[in-house]
């Protein structure tokens, strides 16, 4: 346990701070920002399972997010049951969708795979927008807030711990993939699929499994998000922008690492909320600037700092160790 804590210093600090914050800070906006940081972090960590650990870079993860969000919202509004049931159903459906995407990943490489994931998310977007009878179509679903744990009607402090729990689960999955046999095999698939195959590793099954797992985790976050924000709109929950965002945090934070997605989320989410809050009153057009900053950051990081923030931290640590 001691060794674990020492090796995962960064994670302990991060999650520890997150857990302690509600005790010290009562400010609702700060807590709200923290919830978003944790939630986006969890989503990016979920993406990382497929993208960073299995090497299947998808720009269509919003598919699973949307499935989770709609399952929860529909379960509450249409069927009058609790969102937890919706969350479970969303997970099941997302695993199914994950199998489909996983199947695609076995047939397609690199950019082709990315394009197919985009197409998949758009098909879902259009389908849900048209299916007025069931999903209320383009009008979206307002999700009512009813206090209580069963209905996920939590206060700000409650949401921090809820998001933290999900984040920890995603983190744990990532760590498992780093240290377990399955994880090593997956790394082999990622680095050189043909060689892995030659070694007898079941590459196809592993890829599909990784994508399905990633899908399930993303779906869980989507269901929680629906209850947190309170409005599910198809053009948002299935959007390509959202898919890119999941990947963005992981890349900036460090794609192949467990803490990377969370570091990326801290930076990006904070930057976004800060810039939005600061520039909103100023000449309206300037608020587009933070998106320009993102885009530029993405280009620069991906080229010059491919290990992301986590990579930087590791390099500093190693330098210090060798000094």
């Amino acid at each position: 346990m001691g060794a674990l804590l020492r090796n995962r210093r960064g994670a302990v600090i991060f999650f520890g701070l997150a857990a302690l914050t509600p005790v010290v800070v009562r400010d609702a906006y700060f807590l709200d920002s923290l919830v978003l940081i944790l939630l986006w972090g969890a989503l990016s960590a979920a993406w990382n399972v497929a993208g960073g650990y299995a090497g299947q870079v998808s720009i269509g993860h919003a598919s699973f997010f949307g499935i989770g969000a709609y399952s929860a919202a529909l379960m509450v509004t249409r069927f009058g049951r609790g969102p937890w049931l919706g969350l479970l159903i969303g997970v099941v459906i997302s695993i199914g969708a994950g199998f489909i995407i996983g199947f695609l990943s076995n047939r397609l490489k690199g950019p082709y795979f990315a394009l197919s994931t985009i197409a998949f998310s758009q098909v879902l977007l259009i389908g849900v927008s048209r299916w007025r009878g069931f999903t209320a179509g383009g009008e979206g679903i307002p999700v009512p807030f009813r206090p209580g744990f069963a209905t996920l009607g939590l206060g700000h402090v409650g949401w921090v711990y809820m998001a933290l729990s999900v984040a920890l689960v995603c983190y744990a999955v990532e760590v498992y993939l780093e240290r377990s046999r399955v994880g090593y095999q997956l790394a082999g698939v990622r680095e050189d699929e043909d060689a892995a195959e030659a070694l007898g590793i079941p590459t196809r099954k592993l890829k599909v499994g990784a994508v399905a797992l990633s899908a399930a985790l993303t779906s869980v976050c989507g269901s929680l998000w629906a209850q947190y924000v309170g409005f599910v709109d198809p053009t948002y929950v299935f959007s390509v922008d959202l898919s890119v965002r999941f990947a963005l945090n992981a890349i900036i934070g460090g794609m192949g690492t467990a803490l990377g997605p969370f570091l990326g989320s801290v930076l990006i989410t904070s930057l976004e909320t800060y810039l939005r809050a600061t520039f909103a009153g100023v000449k309206a057009g300037f608020t587009g600037i933070y998106l320009i900053i993102y885009g530029t950051a993405l280009i620069l990081v991906v080229r010059f700092v491919p290990d992301g923030l986590a990579g930087i931290a590791t390099r500093i640590r190693m330098r210090r160790a060798h000094a």
């Binding site: 009008e139 307002p142 904070s270």
Partner: protein, 424 residues
């Protein structure tokens, strides 16, 4: 290099966090009253958010010239609601950091739903000026109000116009009218179209020959749809559009010589926006759009207090933008003016006192900007028949008021539309 980047990142984070923790702006800067304004300033809806902001700022200045609210100068804390997550987050910020007790906004249904939930949880008043989702007021939230009619109201007025004004001029009984419904598929288009369909069918027995939705952002060609419609031969086309698709449909309908008797739209986007006239010039003649009043509007048809503020509003918009007010200006501005009326009556932003003042307001049509009256229902919705809407028509490059006739000096022309080159 890595160390430099790392230090840079940490410094940036520290500055931001420090900024976040430090700024809590209280309400009580003396002589000022602050409300929260939540609009989409970036993102896909930015084009409307910008106009809303203009309208709000103009009316805010008018209010302050007339003594402000509750004796204090009205001031805004502006927040950008790019998407639903941002809307909820920014609503939170307005409430906890800017300490506002009232939030107004927000243009789009996907934004107002999330933001109003947040406001409700904190007992903050939500004063919506233009999102049209009919479910907005049906969630049992006591301090959520809407000054503008919802989508069902738009549909209601459109069908009213078609049945009571168009039908007689076309020598048809309402139940003889063949109507085709075409619409973009966002919440706005769907909401208005479905409510129009309902009323057309159940109340007037109009014959619905087609109903189609499409995604305005990926629509490149309307020829197939137009060809289909030509064969169905509708009398009236009810088309709810944004700018790109509205122009496309009208242009291609002309190319395909698709003739029908009238086109009716609702709202300040698409056919109802200045862009349509800019894009098509006189080719735009004849199209109807349900909106707030435009040129031709008879000030004299309003009550004295309405006349005064409407004139002041129009002059102020003209001065700032060089044009007659656009729909977005009118919705945002009138929402804010109405807020002032309520606050003057309540003299407090305590939710219960506020609510009492809201419910007690009962002003007839013609009392304020846009010729509106006021009467809120128990659910916080301003009544359809008080929120007078007008049918405007494109005539020679301008959207002018033509209906109800008592409110305008101008009259609807080209009924039926007739040949494309005959509409002068």
């Amino acid at each position: 290099m890595p160390r430099f980047v790392f230090t840079l990142v940490v410094t940036v984070l520290a500055v931001m966090l420090g900024g976040e923790l430090a700024t809590v702006r209280g309400q009580a800067t003396s002589g000022e009253y602050r409300i929260g304004v939540l609009e989409p300033i970036t993102g896909p809806l930015a084009f409307e958010g910008k106009r809303h902001m203009e309208g709000l700022e103009i009316v805010r200045d008018l209010i302050n010239e007339r003594g402000g609210v509750m004796g204090k100068k009205l001031v805004f804390s502006v927040a950008d609601a790019t998407d639903p997550t941002a809307a909820a987050s920014e609503a939170n910020r307005l409430i906890t950091r800017e300490s506002v007790k009232i939030i107004t906004g927000t243009f789009s249904s996907r934004l107002c739903g999330a933001a109003s939930e947040v406001a409700a949880r904190h007992d903050v008043i939500y004063w919506e000026s233009s999102c049209v989702d009919p479910r907005f007021n049906k969630r049992g939230l006591k301090h959520v109000y809407r000054t503008e009619i919802d989508a069902t109201g738009f549909g209601w007025y459109n069908v009213e116009f078609i049945a009571k004004h168009l039908a007689p001029r076309l020598n048809l009984k309402p139940n003889q009218i063949k109507i085709a419904f075409l619409s973009e598929d966002s919440s706005y288009g769907q909401g208005v179209t479905e409510s129009a369909r309902q009323r057309a069918k159940t109340e007037f027995g109009m014959q619905e020959v087609m109903v189609e939705y499409y995604n305005w952002q990926t629509l490149n060609d309307m020829t197939p749809t137009i060809l289909k419609m030509k064969q169905l031969n509708p009398d009236v086309v009810h088309h709810i559009s944004f700018s790109n698709d509205g122009v496309l449909f009208w242009r291609q309908a002309k190319e395909q010589s698709f003739l029908f008797k009238a086109l009716v739209h609702a709202g300040a986007t698409g056919y109802g926006s200045a862009d349509f006239g800019k894009a098509l010039g006189n080719d735009a003649n004849g199209v109807f759009a349900l909106l707030e009043p435009g040129p031709g509007f008879r000030l004299e048809s309003l009550r004295p207090e309405g006349q005064a503020i409407e004139k002041a509003f129009r002059d102020a918009v003209q001065k700032r933008t060089g044009t007659y007010p656009f729909g977005a200006h009118q919705l945002a501005g009138s929402g804010l003016w109405l807020l002032k009326l309520v606050l003057d009556k309540a003299q407090s932003d305590d939710p219960e006192k506020f609510r009492a003042a809201v419910m007690s307001l009962d002003l007839p049509v013609g009392s304020m900007i846009n010729g509106w009256g006021v009467k809120f229902s128990e659910q916080g919705q301003n009544a359809n028949d008080r929120v007078q809407h007008y049918m405007l028509q494109w005539q020679n490059g301008q959207l002018v008021t033509v209906w109800p006739e008592e409110f305008s000096t101008l009259r609807a022309k080209w009924i039926p539309l007739g040949a494309w080159d005959q509409r002068k």
